[in-house]
């Protein structure tokens, strides 16, 4: 039995945990405002908000429900456009109507949900952040300018937010969200208490060889039909697995750290000055909210952006199969196209890389047909350690140049120069 809150309704369902949320809400709850556009996380027509506790705060993130198995909705608050609707139009909806930001209307609920999520989040009310919130939503009709203008209206509205109020309180005060949201934090606490033991039960009940599933952003694109009734072990919500911390002179990432976790981590923005710029090049906000770094490694795409990123950092992976544990350098993980030095039972339990302090210089490049929300044509990262103007070590990685994400072994031409 999977339990979560869908809009204002508590859900307890016996549907298979591998069923995607999109199918559940459309065909089992008849909430048809969430649309099917591509079923691969590339259009955002099925965007929902997912609320969960994080450090004592109830935080909402946008996610594409086509890649989100209901097993990953366990214990969370799922918000669709129907859960946003009040009487009349909300300020988000009103802004879009006023600017003519809806034409055929099919992508529209996705935009409404994403922009509502932007209003809920505690971000600086800037145009840049507003646009980033809808960077995963594709519209084929409007050319986006009217949507930008609508987002601009919301930026102005958000400047009215008081420091003392939560996102929910602000949104309810401005009727961006209906009143029931005020009661959600308490209902979520109760749900989570009662669910804690069950989450474990869900994972423990697995038979011998379960499919391992983290964010699902790749697995559900490739194997949607197979996954629905698969025997899945859910990795995303195991406690503590999304932590990022410094351990001596190493940075350590938990196995369920998502791209957004990285983006929001103070550790990372301190280490990599241009990290926000790199992040913008990788996928879209809703996908980054789901996709894990470890998943990017295991997917073994020759152009995986974070694989290339971490290859240059010489990351090491801790692999565990239940009994044994070993440390594998990421640079030694790939044996051929999608062939890994890893048994099916082994899973990543930790990612670590060494810190070289201020002596290092890091850069990431990605070229794609579309600048954002696209797969790299080629990508590359380099990490250079220098002392008094002399290069000590230079690590360079390149994607899209061979069957595996490539670490360039022969880079001695740069060393000692």
């Amino acid at each position: 039995m999977i339990r979560f809150i869908l809009n204002n309704t508590p859900i307890a369902t016996n549907q298979p945990p591998g069923m995607v949320l999109l199918d559940f809400i459309r065909y089992h709850r008849q909430l048809t405002g969430t649309k099917i556009g591509c079923r691969e996380g590339d259009c955002g027509a099925c965007t929902v908000l997912v609320g969960e506790w994080n450090d004592g705060k109830l935080l909402y993130k946008s996610m594409t429900s086509c890649l989100l198995p209901i097993g990953n909705a366990e214990g969370k608050h799922i918000v669709t456009v129907e859960g946003v609707n009040g009487t009349g139009l909300t300020p988000v909806q009103e802004a879009m109507a006023g600017e003519g930001a809806t034409q055929c209307g099919f992508c529209t609920p996705g935009f409404v949900v994403s922009l509502t999520g932007f209003c809920l989040e505690n971000q600086k009310p800037t145009m840049e952040n507003a646009v980033a919130a809808i960077d995963g939503n594709i519209c084929r009709c409007t050319g986006y300018k009217s949507i930008e203008r609508a987002a601009g209206r919301l930026v102005t509205l958000l400047k009215d937010r008081k420091k003392t109020e939560t996102g929910i309180e602000f949104c309810v005060r401005h009727k961006i969200l209906p009143d029931y949201f005020l009661g959600i934090p308490e209902r979520m606490s109760l749900l989570q208490e009662s669910e804690k033991s069950k989450i474990k039960a869900l994972s423990a009940a697995q038979t011998k060889k379960p499919r391992l599933l983290a964010g699902g952003t790749d697995l559900y694109v490739q194997q949607h039909d197979e996954m629905t009734n698969a025997n899945i072990k859910f990795l995303l919500d195991e406690p503590g697995h999304d932590e990022i911390h410094i351990d001596g002179n190493e940075c350590v990432l938990g196995p369920a750290v998502t791209v957004t976790d990285l983006a929001k981590s103070g550790v990372f923005s301190e280490l990599f000055t241009f990290f926000p710029e790199y992040i913008k090049l990788v996928s879209s906000t809703p996908i980054r909210n789901m996709a894990t770094i470890a998943g990017n490694f295991i997917n073994a795409s020759p152009i995986g952006d974070f694989t290339i990123f971490f290859l240059a950092l010489d990351a090491k992976l801790k692999l565990k199969d239940g009994e044994h544990e070993r440390l594998v350098p990421l640079r030694k993980l790939y044996k051929g196209y999608k062939i890994l030095d890893k048994t099916p039972e082994e899973q990543i339990t930790e990612i670590r890389f060494e810190l070289h302090g201020t002596r290092t210089c890091f850069h990431f490049e990605k070229i794609s047909k579309r600048r954002n929300l696209d797969i790299a044509s080629v990508n590359s990262a380099c990490n250079i350690t220098s002392d008094k103007g002399i290069i000590g070590d230079a690590a360079i990685s390149a994607g899209g140049v061979g069957p595996i994400p490539l670490y360039l072994e022969k880079n001695i031409c740069l060393v000692n120069r």
């Binding site: 556009g37 006023g98 003519g100 055929c104 099919f106 519209c139 579309r370 929300l373």
Partner: protein
Amino acid sequence: MKNIDSYTHLRGESVYLDDIPVIKGTLYAAVFDSPVAHGVIRVLDIHEASAMPGVVEIFTARDIPGENQIGGIIPDEELLADKHVHFCGMPVALVVAETEEAARAAVKKIKVDIDPLPVITDPRIAKAKGELIIPPRTFKLGNTETAWKDCEYIIEGQTETNGQEHLYIETQGAYAIPMENGAIRVYSSTQGPTAVQRTISKVLGLPMHKIEVDTTRLGGGFGGKEDQASAWGAFCALACKLLNRPVKYSLHRMEDMRMTGKRHPYSSDFKIGLNKELKILAYEATFFQNAGAAADLSPAVMERTLFHCTNSYFIPNVKATAFSCRTNLPPNTAFRGFGGPQGMFVIEAAIVKAAEKIGVPASAIQEKNLLSTGDEFPYGQKAESEAIACWQELNKHFDIAGMHSAVNEYNQAHPLSKKGFAIMPICFGISFTKTLMNQARSLVHVYTDGSVGISTGAVEMGQGVNTKILQVAAQVFSIDPDLIKINSTNTWRIANTSPTAASAAADLNGKATEIACIEILKRLKTVAAEILNTSIEKIELRDGFVWADGVQTTTDWKTLVMQTYIKRISLSEHAHYTPPGLSYDASIEKGHPFAYHVYGAAAITVTVDCLRGIYEVDSVKVIHDAGESMNKLIDIGQCEGGIVQGIGWMTMEEVVYDKDGKLRSNALSTYKVPDIYSVPKEIIIEFLKTSKTNLAIFNSKAVGEPPLMYGLGAYFALRNAVKAYNPKAEIGFDAPFTPEKVLMGLL
């Protein structure tokens, strides 16, 4: 006025095909399509698939009770391949199952053994082999042969424009429900309900009156659902008829991309001749249209390429020939612009190449040759031109000279980043070029409570046609728009409709609505005159009240409606409209095919990162000939959306088929349309102020297609930026200008 659908759109309450509540007992269809682009079916093995759980029936060509034929213009396309397959994605078998999952699972178990035949993907090869859909057509004006000797400059070249995936966010689909007496109701995501009805009638061997096609709205069409929605309607109706159960099919994105046609790729040759004063004296073009495996709408698309081969220029001597070439790709189809953009790309490329050879800016040639009123198009119609007005206003309003020098200054100051600038004038003819299609009907009912219901042949797909039709009625009756409802498009209410296409739906259906409303208004006024004891000339309906002799009376709209009903006078009207003066004689390729033309001019600026080959569109500034826009919000939206779609076609949207005719850009992960970051940072649309009368509804000119063609300017602006970095770059004319091609040009 806001789009009348915006309220339900924004609340997620608008009903699209897949949102219609399903009736108990509904079955689900899925198509098994050919994995081979050309060949003869030896064995089709459905045994394993038939035994799959939940599978009800698997239909093949032999099960079709009527004709196995869906070709609209030419009957050359089977619904289900019988013996031959002609493209990858051609439907071969139809699985019907209790659930969607079961249907798709069974499709995977169907096996087919096909003897392969040679695959053609290149239109020039098809032409060389005599594979033509229809005989070639040639448009002629003056005599190019004798004109060349007067030319100071003669330039020849070749161009390529690739296809474009429609990528309506709502995929194709249909839902058929059995009704009594063998009738079938079909909900269809189509721009052409009558086309769906006609196709089903043929496939099932049923009279048209037994088939009710109903369309509330589309989640985008762009031409992709004009002709190509019919197959899905026919599949559902076929299974519905044979099984007597409701059958639904909403395509998966990858099925849709694989099985449906796209904008036609063209390969073209040009020869252009100019005199010393930069006047274009002669122009010859040959177009090789990649039609795909069947005619679909290709002959009509090809025709429009010829109609727009000189864009907004007057050229006294023209010879343009077009070949519709049969290849082993999915049949290509209508897409916003309908062949026009492909023709316009070639003349613009010719001008750019000529400018480079002569050593003048392309804009100097463009400006010198703009159409004036009275100039003759190659097809004989005389222009009512706004081309020069738009061009001049563009220069004045946006200080084009200043923009130009700003670009030059930027380029001097930035060694690794270059800006490019181009002007794109447009001229687009409004009307179906098949004259008979220029007709529409509207059914207006006024109910006794004063509310109004309107049905027309127009299909709402985001372009706001329903809003405009509602505005027509509200204005004629002078009542609160809230009293009016626009109903779904339904073949039982409005018969023999033309598809919603050619940018003409608001004009044709709006005018029919205007006629119907005026007729009802006349009756209402007659009754009002009787009640108020005055003459009809003195009666006016204004803001929901009857006015007599310029004075408001106490008789309101609702009272008058009821009085009219009591007097047993009809409150309904079914009106017909066809624009006057249209004719075309294809035997001499001359006539007056268009009700009017839409003009405009755009200035486009781009910036290229010369290290990476990536680029941004800085701005698109437009003077657009909208006539007297009846809805600025909607018309600006059409302009912005069209421009971005056009830029997408010219930049990042790359349809890729391999040599075996297999679509490689088969999902949203591999086919990229503009996202919010890739659109121009600035789009400014100004409407040209004119008050000339024309055949548009309320003088508000059609706006659906023309703005797309401003996007062509992005190609030429990028070319200029690359040339600014690498003046010696040998760049052909091969759209889209992907970052990869830009990078190659920079090297």
